[in-house]
């Protein structure tokens, strides 16, 4: 193992560190496996010691003996604090409004944070059939706010028009006559920087870039005319301590770190 390699930071490490910082002081996170696992585990050790991760499978207060490979991995269940049936997890916890931050990914995102995880192309004869909503639509509709983590910031994913809107933000809900319960996407963390929006009615704006990334590069990688915040900052690179925690404590077997 390569304890001293803090100079070279991988994309997974960068995204996990940035996401962990954004989770500061949150209580409950609804998250999947992979990058979100790393981010929450790091947040527990740094910015949000009391944070609890709730898994779509129904597990609360997991104490896994190994890094889980799926959201339903047996190691998440054994030694956990509660395993809820799906009716309780989706009905009482998620729709009941108990989640501070939902972490989502998607194939496409637009300027309002609406997400597509269903199809590329026409739904009736798609070029690519993607997995669909799963619980993503519910995470979007019910979490107080949503963070999206995108490994690759490019115009194919950051689009002016979604091919299909699977998980709509509050603006689309309002347009459909439905009262939204959460703020929708408030943070998008990518390999180029961070987009953010304050809440309903605001488009995503570039608020920070990673060191060495220009505003021009981010705007070129974005399929719509991206606004830039006045107070644009540069993301603080991962500290040696953050990297040590990730590499030595959170994922020593390199299950998700690449």
């Amino acid at each position: 193992m390569n304890r001293e390699s803090t100079v070279v930071t991988t994309s997974s490490e960068l995204l996990a560190v940035v996401a962990a910082r954004e989770l500061a002081d949150r209580s409950t996170v609804f998250a999947g496996i992979g990058l979100p696992t790393l981010a929450v585990a790091l947040a527990q050790r740094t910015t949000a010691p009391g944070i609890e991760i709730v898994y779509e499978s129904g597990v609360c207060g997991a104490h896994p003996s190994r890094l889980p490979e799926t959201i339903a991995d047996a190691v998440l269940i054994t030694d956990s604090e509660a395993v809820l049936p799906m009716t309780a997890l989706f009905g009482y916890v998620l729709q009941g409004g108990r989640i501070d931050v939902g972490l989502l990914g998607a194939a496409q995102i637009d300027r309002w944070g609406n997400l597509n995880s269903s199809v590329i192309g026409d739904w009736h004869a798609p070029k690519v059939r993607l997995p669909g909503s799963g619980g993503a639509m519910e995470v979007m509709a019910n979490s107080r706010e949503v963070f999206v983590v995108m490994r690759r910031h490019d115009p194919r994913s950051f689009v002016a028009e979604l091919d299909f809107c699977t998980s709509p933000g509050p603006e689309r809900a309002l347009g459909d006559g439905i009262r939204p319960l959460g703020a929708g996407v408030t943070r998008v963390i990518t390999d180029l920087g961070i987009l953010a929006r304050a809440g309903i009615g605001e488009p995503l704006r570039l608020v920070a870039t990673h060191p060495g990334v220009t505003v021009e590069k981010v705007r070129e990688a974005t399929g719509w005319d991206l606004d830039v915040a006045d107070e644009l900052t540069t993301v603080e690179p991962p500290t040696a301590e953050e990297l040590r925690l990730l590499r030595d404590e959170v994922d020593p077997d390199r299950v998700y770190l690449r």
Partner: protein, 320 residues
């Protein structure tokens, strides 16, 4: 890392039960939060809206204690053991002051908790068609289904609105200090009542170590994230029973019909047993240890199940 939510009963009631609040007490015959009800009387709370499916002895006591302005319930009776004297006086004669009563059926109440826990605007159910209950309770309404009925005709169904108590109080066998609460035997509507509420107090027979809870996570009916206070109060459900801990005090249930029939006797009982005791420990001391011998239960242990543990590569050959 884990929050410690343990509090004394006095502090929990003082902090989370305020005058005028909507308070749900749940527990269906089993696990009734009696000690919490007594503490509400001791602290002299007023104008509460009390939500409770089976309004029974503790409800009668809270009403007699002057705490309740309005009752929301689906069954008002002393189990099979007789009547609730104070409740009947209030409703039948309006003396010493009237009690507002919002009446439902059991499933109507369950659906209100379900809607509350799920942040739904309403919950449909197949009850109430042709009943007089909606005529005295305008909160029970109808919706037309957007799908045709079995004969292709438009289909109507009754709905009830959500209930979102300011605080729900339940009693349980055990919890850890963070609030992960385990219940066995009748689990009732406790989880839904807690999730429907803005705040929740869990009163338990025992606060236990984390490992006890974590050895059987499926037993956790209420996860810690839904709990605001954990109060350790052994024998706090008396005269109700707690599965595996103590039995129902049938004599007390039967005696309540007599105590509550006479308003002065009822007030004397409250003065002596509730207002006259500092807390539940004093109430128990007054009952006497000998009383509990009659309510003791024997052993009937569940068989353990294996949750499994992931083996390291080196262990795998050996395990078979």
């Amino acid at each position: 890392m884990h929050p410690d939510r343990t509090m004394t009963m006095r502090d929990a009631i003082a902090e989370f039960v305020t005058d005028g609040a909507t308070v749900a007490l749940e527990g269906f015959t089993h696990l009734i939060p009696t000690a919490a009800g007594h503490e509400i009387i001791r602290q002299g709370r007023r104008d509460l809206t009390l939500v409770r499916m089976t309004a029974d002895i503790v409800t009668d006591q809270l009403i007699a204690g002057g705490c309740v302005r309005k009752l929301v319930s689906s069954f008002v009776g002393n189990s099979t053991a007789g009547s609730l004297g104070e409740l009947r006086r209030r409703i039948e004669t309006g003396q010493p002051e009237p009690l507002e009563f919002e009446e439902y059926s059991h499933y109507g109440m369950i659906c209100r908790y379900l809607a509350g826990a799920q942040r739904l605007p309403f919950h449909p159910l197949r009850s109430y068609g042709g009943s007089d209950v909606p005529s005295v309770n305008p909160a029970i309404r109808k919706v037309t289904s957007p799908y045709p009925g079995p004969g292709g005709e438009p289909e109507q169904v009754y709905v009830v609105p959500p209930v979102n108590p300011d605080v729900t109080i339940v009693h349980a066998q055990r919890a850890d200090r963070a609030g992960n609460t385990q219940i066995w035997g009748l689990t009732g509507i406790q989880a839904e009542a807690v999730y429907a509420a803005r705040r929740a107090i869990v009163v338990v027979e025992e606060v236990v170590d984390d490992e006890v809870i974590r050895s059987d996570p499926n037993r956790t009916a209420i996860p810690a994230h839904a709990v605001d206070a954990v109060v350790e109060c052994p024998r706090g459900a008396h005269p109700a029973f707690v599965q595996g801990y103590y039995d129902r005090d049938g004599d007390f249930y039967r005696s309540w019909s007599h105590i509550s029939k006479d308003p002065e006797r009822l007030q004397r009982w409250l003065d002596e047993w509730v207002r006259g005791t500092a807390d539940h420990a004093e109430y128990l001391a007054k009952l006497g240890e000998q009383h509990w011998a009659g309510l003791a239960v024997g052993a009937a242990w569940s068989r353990p199940v294996n949750y499994g543990r992931r083996l390291r590569q080196a262990e795998k050959g050996m395990s078979r």
